[in-house]
Symmetry: C2
Subunit: 280 residues, 2 copies
Amino acid sequence: MTLETISENRSFGGRQGVYRHASKATGTDMTFAVYLPPQAETAEVPVLWYLSGLTCTHENAMTKAGAQDHAAREGLALIFPDTSPRGEGVADDEAFDLGQGAGFYLNATQDPWAKHFRMWDYIAQELPDLVFDAFPLDRAAQGITGHSMGGHGALTLAMTLPDTYRSVSAFAPIANPSESDWGRKQFAAYLGEDRDAWAAHDATLLMADRGYPGEILIDQGTEDQFLDLLRPEALAQAIVARRQPAMIRMQPGYDHSYFFVQSFMGDHVAWHAERLWDPV
Amino acid sequence: MTLETISENRSFGGRQGVYRHASKATGTDMTFAVYLPPQAETAEVPVLWYLSGLTCTHENAMTKAGAQDHAAREGLALIFPDTSPRGEGVADDEAFDLGQGAGFYLNATQDPWAKHFRMWDYIAQELPDLVFDAFPLDRAAQGITGHSMGGHGALTLAMTLPDTYRSVSAFAPIANPSESDWGRKQFAAYLGEDRDAWAAHDATLLMADRGYPGEILIDQGTEDQFLDLLRPEALAQAIVARRQPAMIRMQPGYDHSYFFVQSFMGDHVAWHAERLWDPV
């Protein structure tokens, strides 16, 4: 696969790159960002996938999450994918929460979305094949996190593919989309009315059904303006009901913004590093 | 003076706020951001002014410089002013480096700029009067830093008003504008052809003329795409010629972006904290 370099910047002794490639999964060009810590100069390093939320591209977290500092210290690479296919000829909707910028990390089965909206395959298979070929990354040491819709993606991917993702965390995830206006509309559009298909992309239902073999970290601000849509209480209930090892933190005063994400990014990167670096 | 709150977000245990007010200095509404660290809940804290570069508003560094984390740890407040007056009725130019977004931290004396472009008075007098009245800040403990055009502002303000600014640093400052295309055009437009007026806003000339009573920290990336316009070599020459206490770091591989600023923000915040907190 051909990888086009859009930019590369020195960052905390490592390198922040942005790249573009023609994706077979989505049938479009896709842009993503990779942060390589200084440790990647001499060895393969573990990888932390960061999935972004509604309206975001690869760029938001790359510039606003403050993650590179921590990743450099812990020796983790970061990968920031886009949140959907984009461009003319790609279906879209007027709403900010459907279509471009709102891929929900699933493979759409319904028209007009099915042709390009295959973010599950893109994130779980195609992009890994590409980055593990192109960069000094340890495929056996992958963790995943994300914010809002990206937290939903991180949790659903990790619970479905626990052999792939050895660690998982989330910032203010969309936790129960089947029962929320951030989910029902999108699942109906992308997946149709088959509720079993929805369940495969609902963190609360996956938690109830199968859980995750490791521990899960979730941070949620108490002043999050989207709490009613995120439904973290449903996921917390499912986690505790299952006796799932987890740390759920309700952070007093924090909202849904990147000021919240940034405030706890250090904890999340350290969390993943602890689980991804093999004990010496 | 009336202060309108645009937003307030919890950040690293403190509070990131954005505010607007009617400025007498510029004759326009002005927007700025203040970060208060957790320590400000119980005492007045020192202040670090951060001046931004060409095209920026209060918002760029607030979201991309990664400074809040360090400021919370060190107990410093951060103030992020805008880089110029803005709005309809305010003079502007097609070029990105003249007019709105390019105030150069001086008081213009020439038409059409003189009416609104009074950023020196705004930064040095009006905005301090406002923020020291409105927030729990220690007026006797002010430091100043900035990036590019903002590094120019930080250095020229600190050398001119050393009793006000007890510490100073700069990221890739415009170091010698009288001799650069980032300076000559703007100084001619704002200040006319009087070279003495230019000298008051040229860090290299101020260094040669008076220096600064404390130590100066300057970081500059070796791969900065604007090195020819910044002319750090002229300032370095003036610093060393004067025997000015300073640390000048040429950082290998770094460019002019916020990836560079972010990488060394921790060092700068610690630098100012060390000089602004009174020894116990």
